[in-house]
Symmetry: C2
Subunit: 153 residues, 2 copies
DNA sequence: TATGAAAGTTTTAAATA
DNA sequence: TATTTAAAACTTTCATA
């Protein structure tokens, strides 16, 4: 970790998350500081890895990604080489937006964004041809109720 | 939708997603164009809603959000007023980072980020006191294997 | 689409609390 | 050690060709 944050750092992070296009002057005014300290703190938090990336969020549906699946995976294989292959497969497939290893009965969950159900099937067939999995359940999203990258600081 | 995209638009979006801190000149050079057309296209894509938000992505664990749960929810209630209450509850809880209404057996899935298991329980108790749900299964993430906001354009 | 100039922003450095 | 001031370098924005 190495970076310890105070109230001012947190306020700056709130603003950066809320609108990453604000100028240093604007942020400084809102958090009650001035340009240079804000700039120095942002630089430190970048270097410390607290701030991972600056990006633009796009509208998936408007860009033709009209289907979103949550995929629950159970596997019988648990050895290191299987796991390495599986992880690499997930990282190599850009339609996988999230992948978590879970505690309990279900071993992995994926969030997969694709154009349509057919594109999901193509992804699924590719995945099971690359790695052996025991059981796969796909949950199809009908409606995105909420989606945010904001952490409640 | 209204906005139709060509190859150049897509290349610009790839760059904006990859690194939202690049200057217009840099982006123009990479996509093989010049400043003004790139600027005009970004403006149009913003206005058209293709570009939703500019933001900074933070390291959840470094900021003390050490637990991530996927929550599967089944409900017996399907009337409009129950749904409105439930949706509002999800939107009001900042620990809910994602919420989808699903097709099939399970009605909703949530992604919930909290400090620890106790904080999850606090969230869970609050939620079930606000709305009636039939069955809740929480899947605890042991490891985030992949997490990206990038759409593969 | 390209050029370029005005306005605004980031970044660095030096001075100050 | 952190903040303020100030100035140079760079970027965005927009008018005009």
């Amino acid at each position: 970790m190495a970076v310890r944050l105070d109230e001012l750092d947190r306020k700056i992070l709130v603003q950066l998350q809320k609108d990453g296009g604000q100028s240093l002057d604007e942020i400084a005014r809102i958090v009650g500081s001035s340009k240079t300290p804000v700039w120095n703190r942002i630089r430190k938090m970048r270097e410390g890895g607290i701030i991972k990336q600056q990006t633009f969020l796009l509208d998936a549906e408007a860009l033709g990604f009209e289907a979103c699946f949550f995929v629950l995976i159970r596997t019988s294989e648990h050895d290191a080489s299987w796991q390495a292959t599986f992880l690499q497969a997930l990282r190599d497939h850009p339609e996988v937006q999230e992948a978590h290893r879970l505690a309990g009965d279900i071993d992995y969950i994926l969030k997969v964004r694709v154009a349509n159900a057919r594109a999901y099937d193509t992804f699924y067939q590719a995945l099971i041809s690359e790695v052996k999995v025991h059981n796969v359940t796909a949950l199809l999203s009908m409606e995105e109720i909420k989606s945010t990258t904001m952490l409640p600081l």
